[in-house]
């Protein structure tokens, strides 16, 4: 019995041990945790040297730059917030911001980041300014553009209709596809959005005071957009094989491999093509509008948010000031391929290429995601509508009517 008791005592002690060790708490330097989204092209080396350089310059602060895959970022933030233990700062999709504000989780950026850093941010990138308060510091902002494989065609379509004609002309599956269309759900609704905006539509009616009214995906513009997408995919069959089983991440490599004439894509196209060692020259142009409409690209921004419940926000602000110097931020932009959000960096020679020029133009007329609570669910509803049309289960009108009704109901309208 004695031996048994000793064994159990050890077992229980072992179970409690970690508590003793950690409960003691090391109250030394303030620690800043930063959830660092793993953009394609970012190297581990860059992350590590940024972390080291900051700690060297600020020996009184402990910095942890935690690499988090994009796919898991939303989960990780949700868990840590719900668990009452958020990081000081994190990269977020700006579209999550309203949801985070609904949780009362984020704090104003200007409280912690110096004025000189904020003054250096391009005003157009300040998507996260809500009711006059900057709730997320832009970290990457990029409008979407069209890339053309010049070894298949050099024709730059001015309208969607022209694009379709040319796509049909060059289409020669399985060797060459007219254009890339991701048909599998991914977290963003980008592809429907391109066509919707090109048809002059938007997701919601925008009231004079800037608030969102009823869902308008089933407007004539919405129906036109989805009908057109369905036509490309199922009637003309000019999209890549198995498009319904491929999301953005799976379908774009078909373009990098030189097998598709057109793709709607973002700033990362150049670094991704470099990684895939593509052997053709791309042409960059605006995503064309439908005939009679104005060019309206989609712009997507990511931000850095400060979480209220974290302890060392002041120190985190210090880090952001450090990071947003050209020395680091411009290097970051270069690696991930996004046009800089800072004024000083955008003047640097490496950001004067045709790609950046096209991106810059696109940004002028671009629209972003609706900034609203619950967008994740609504975009999922629209995704289902798009897929149902692709699967011929519903007509575009039926599917979008149903989606709009569902969304309005969910928003209590």
């Amino acid at each position: 019995m004695k031996k048994l008791k000793r064994f159990l005592l050890i077992a229980i002690l072992l179970a409690l041990l970690p508590g003793f060790i950690f409960a003691g708490g090391q109250k030394e330097k303030p620690k800043v945790t930063f959830f660092w989204a793993l953009y394609d092209g970012l190297t581990e080396d860059f992350r590590a040297s940024l972390q080291d350089a900051f700690m060297k310059a600020n020996p009184d602060i402990d910095l942890d730059i935690v690499p988090v895959p994009w796919k898991n970022m939303h989960d990780k933030i949700t868990t840590s917030l719900a668990g009452g233990n958020p990081p000081e700062i994190s990269v977020i999709g700006t579209r999550w911001l309203l949801e985070l504000m609904g949780m009362n989780a984020v704090d104003e950026v200007s409280k912690y980041v110096s004025k000189s850093t904020l003054d250096n941010i391009a005003p157009g990138a300040m998507e996260a300014k809500i009711n006059g308060k900057l709730m997320g510091l832009p970290v990457a902002a990029g409008a979407r553009i069209m890339a053309i494989n010049s070894s298949i065609t050099t024709f730059v379509p001015k309208t969607m209709e022209e694009l379709r004609q040319e796509a049909i002309r060059v289409n020669n599956p399985p060797n060459v596809y007219g254009l890339i269309m991701p048909g599998k759900k991914h977290t963003e609704l980008t592809d429907f959005a391109y066509y919707l905006l090109a048809a002059g539509g938007y997701f919601f009616e925008i009231k004079p005071d800037g608030s969102y009214g009823k869902c308008t995906v089933n407007s004539p513009a919405g129906v036109k957009a989805l009908t057109f997408m369905n036509q490309l995919a199922n009637v003309d069959k000019v999209v890549q094989k198995g498009y319904l089983s491929m999301n953005r991440m799976e379908s774009h490599p078909v373009f990098y491999a030189g097998k598709a004439a057109y793709v709607f894509i973002g700033a990362w196209v150049e670094s991704a093509m470099k990684q895939a060692k593509s052997n053709f020259k791309p042409i960059y142009a605006q995503i064309p509008p439908f005939k009679g409409n104005k060019s309206t690209p989609l712009i997507i921004t990511d931000s850095i948010a400060f979480f209220k419940d974290a302890k060392n926000l002041k120190a985190a602000g210090k880090f952001i000031d450090f990071f947003y110097q050209d020395k680091w931020k411009a290097k970051f932009d270069e690696l991930v391929g996004f046009p800089p959000v800072t004024i000083s960096a955008s003047k640097l020679p490496q950001f004067q290429t045709p790609l950046y020029k096209t991106l810059g133009e696109a940004a002028l007329n671009a629209k972003g995601w609706p900034l609203m609570d619950g967008w994740a669910e609504y975009s999922d509803i629209i995704w289902d509508a798009v897929q149902n049309v692709f699967l011929q289960k519903q007509t575009p009108k039926e599917a979008l009517d149903e989606a709009a009704a569902k969304i309005d109901k969910a928003r209590g309208m």
Binding site: L4, K5, L8, A11, I12, A15, H74, D75, T78, L81, A82, E99, G102, M103, A105, G183, K184, K185, H186, T187, Q240, K241, G242, Y243, L244, S245, M246, N247, E250, P253, V254, A257, K259, G374, A376, E377, D380, W383, D384, Q387, N388, F390, L391, K393
Partner: protein
Amino acid sequence: MSSQAVVIKKSKLLNEEARLAYILLAPAVIVLVAFMFYPIIYVFLMSFFDTDKLGRLRSFAAFKNYKVLFQTKDFWTITGRSILWTVIGVTTKTLFGLIIALLLNIEYRGRKFARMLFIIPWASAVPISAMLWQWVYNPEFGLLNFTLQATGIWKNPPIWLGQPISAFFACMWVDIWIGIPFMSLVFLAGMQAIPNELYESAYIDGVNSFQKFFYITLPGITELIMIATLLSSLWTFNDFNVIYILTKGGPGGATDILITSVYKNGFEWLKFNIASVMAVVTFLILAIVSIVYAKIYFGRERK
């Protein structure tokens, strides 16, 4: 030692027995209760409350969440699909497991190596395996369809994840694939414990292989099959990674099951109350299955 002494010792044992049992169980039970009691209770609580975006309880809602969910027709489709998913999954895993176990039970050179190779699907992480399969199924760069076509096995293979029915079975297969090694190992072990004399006497009686399997092997491992299929049912029902990585529940909702809906409602839409109701429904279904199993198991134990 006299038999009387044994009896005395035994009765003394009985007095000590319960106390000893509790002491021995204490560490495991303490850890389980410390870490699982609150999470499980909280799931039940959330299902009866309105929750905010962080899963905090706001106001008591009684059965409102249940009503809301039970009235959506998707919910019943999804529940039905989860059951179908589990039944097909566990049955196929068991069948494959049995066949492979029978094969690995034969003595030949290189058997040890073959056993190790069969373990591979189990030995790598589920999310990674699912990603690997996504790559295999890829219609453009994937080697599966390429190989099927190049070897002429299947001239016109489907786009596996692109159509509702093929997507369901393609996901199903990945789940099965991951689960096979565990099953075959458990069964193999069971077969090795069956005394050889049974087979030898059968051989003398001129019994054929099928009869041997049904009259000797299968009864010998019935209990193992029970435990393994029970655990496998619980795991299969709750397997979230495979579907989420391969199809995200699509196309057109064709591969959505309860656990993927739980994830979608909870982590993506932050509707923790609805996610909790689904979790509770999952629990009830699995509890019924377990109770039935356990009844049979404890029933056999008494014999």
